[in-house]
Symmetry: C2
Subunit: 307 residues, 2 copies
DNA sequence: CGGGTCTTTGATTAGGTTCAATAAGAGTGG
DNA sequence: CCACTCTTATTGAACCTAATCAAAGACCCG
């Protein structure tokens, strides 16, 4: 299962040749330059980050004095649709999202993809690969992305020189774990509406933290991907969004979402019947139509409903 | 939310006074004795484990030579029903399960508990507390338990002396993360029957790994707890178990489970209609009764439905 | 413009929850 | 030891949420 090399056909291929990673082994810990940059590749934007930038990005405060600019971490860019890593691929590096939006997925026993998370700025990718030395999930760019490389063997080697790195990693992994626990809690206990509401709120919070508006933003993912993430179908997601829109909690226009009533979204457990009233009425009509008790009115209704 | 000190009344109280943990801070890294054992407490059984035992328990192979018996880890025993840690409690130590069975839970926005996992031999507890310095979940003993203490500040301090410890921790945390991802995948995608089937199989595997029978074992948790864990109601769990029993996949007698057809359980997606036949027949009857094409029966039914 | 994907909305159905009643243990105290 | 209670488990019936099936509209991109 873990050895699958994902024979599926995908829209894009990873453009970084494996040789790009090949030189990771065998250089001294603490070296300031890790990988020769391939000639002419991805020169736009900042290509390196120091430890401070990495910590800021991860929102982790590093105890003790930092190793300043001694440690540099290389960036890589991915275009929309590209895979960062695939299931079963040998694990060697972690990634921190500097900018852009991604999804991580699991391929279930037959072919269907299950969305696990939507990483964005400050999130860490690839942690699931440490244990088995193979990635157990797949990461795909939903927009053009700028990722910071954290080659894992380098990281552990550096951990011996700069122990604060290990603390940093513990913190990040623990946060990830707690986040997944919250996700499990949500999937286990909440209704469809509550899931969608919380999803929107969590997006809003994350956008706010990145300096974007928490009141108005664009979804980078499809309804299908949202549904997969929330354990719902795309139709249910769409309907729920429409319902929220109708009662004014949010404003929906395709992938543009306006958050109008965050408080209501936060406390929402089930949708007040006022909005599903139409549905209920229709159901009542049908019911009434099925039990005619004799009468012309009844037949009329039956017609209007059935035609 | 995280600051909740769990005001709920619980059947048991933690018997270890907080002063037991108070001396964790401020001792030298690498010390072989960490905590004074309270006089007369829990002397039965082995009280200390060395690093090798810990690694064996965690099923993690430690690269490089081990620090032999220099590092000793203290055990603590908990009785059935006791809480190991609660939500919001300051984080200071990790626990490895040496023997016994537990559950970890989340308390959702109103009071209901959501089961996150059923830790047993070799599992690690408390990792979710590292990031915020407060446990974000609660662990409860489902049977008498023997846990190994891993005071976290000691662990990080020791990591500087014995870097293999950090690798060990990365591996364990990564495994935990991958496990939770699989859980999310399951909750998002599988039917009730498939969830129960997988749950039984995973229990069987874990029992087998501990040297117990994978064909016959006792559940340590209630139907309610299983349901919470799987995102189902206790009734659904009970019914599914009964259905599996009826078609011979398993044998159920209260909490004693016999696994008869592991292969079928593994590949099961939805239950073959043969077993829900009774349900279908009943439904068909009702349907037939509801559409009698005119007659006295109609009014009768209407009455019974509307009143 | 046309073909693709994505989204919305409707109608129907099925799987799972809820409510309810009963039964079986386990523990407690007389 | 038995009656009593409390928790846990089983089973039935009705209801309801969300999935499924289906069709049409919106958007994007070559």
């Amino acid at each position: 299962m873990l050895t699958t090399q994902t024979p599926e056909i995908r829209p894009f291929k990873v453009t970084i040749p494996s040789s790009f990673y090949a030189e990771a082994a065998g250089s001294a810990p603490g070296a300031t330059v890790w990988y020769p940059l391939e000639a002419g590749r991805q020169r736009q934007g900042r290509l390196w980050s120091n430890l401070k930038e990495v910590c800021d990005l991860l929102q982790i405060s590093l105890a003790g004095p930092m190793a300043a600019d001694e440690l540099l971490f290389q960036h890589v860019r991915f275009k929309t649709g590209q895979r960062i890593h695939t299931i079963g691929q040998p694990f060697d590096t972690l990634y921190i999202v500097k900018s852009g939006f991604l999804k991580t997925i699991l391929i279930d026993d037959f072919g269907g993809e299950q969305v696990l998370s939507f990483p964005m700025q400050g999130d860490l990718l690839g942690v699931d690969g440490i244990h088995t030395k193979h990635y157990s999930s797949e990461a795909v760019a939903l927009s053009d992305c700028d990722l910071i490389l954290l080659p894992f063997n380098k990281l552990t080697a550096l951990g011996r020189v700069h122990p604060e790195l290990d603390s940093l990693m513990y913190g990040v992994m623990s946060r990830e774990l707690a986040r997944e626990q919250a996700m499990i809690g949500m999937l286990g206990a909440l209704s469809a509406e509550a899931r969608v509401a919380r999803f929107l709120l969590s997006l809003a919070e994350r956008f706010a933290h990145m300096g974007y508006s928490s009141k108005l933003f664009n979804l980078r993912m499809t309804r299908h991907e949202i549904g997969s993430y929330l354990g719902l179908t795309l139709e249910t997601v769409s309907r729920t969004l429409s319902a929220f829109n109708e009662i004014g909690l949010i404003s929906v226009d395709q992938r543009t979402i306006g958050i109008n009533d965050p408080a209501a979204l936060k406390t929402l457990r089930r949708l007040p019947p006022s909005c599903s009233r139409a549905k209920q009425l229709a159901a009542a009509k049908l019911k009434a139509a099925r039990e005619p008790a004799g009468g012309d009115l009844d037949s009329e209704i039956k017609l209007s409903v059935l035609i």
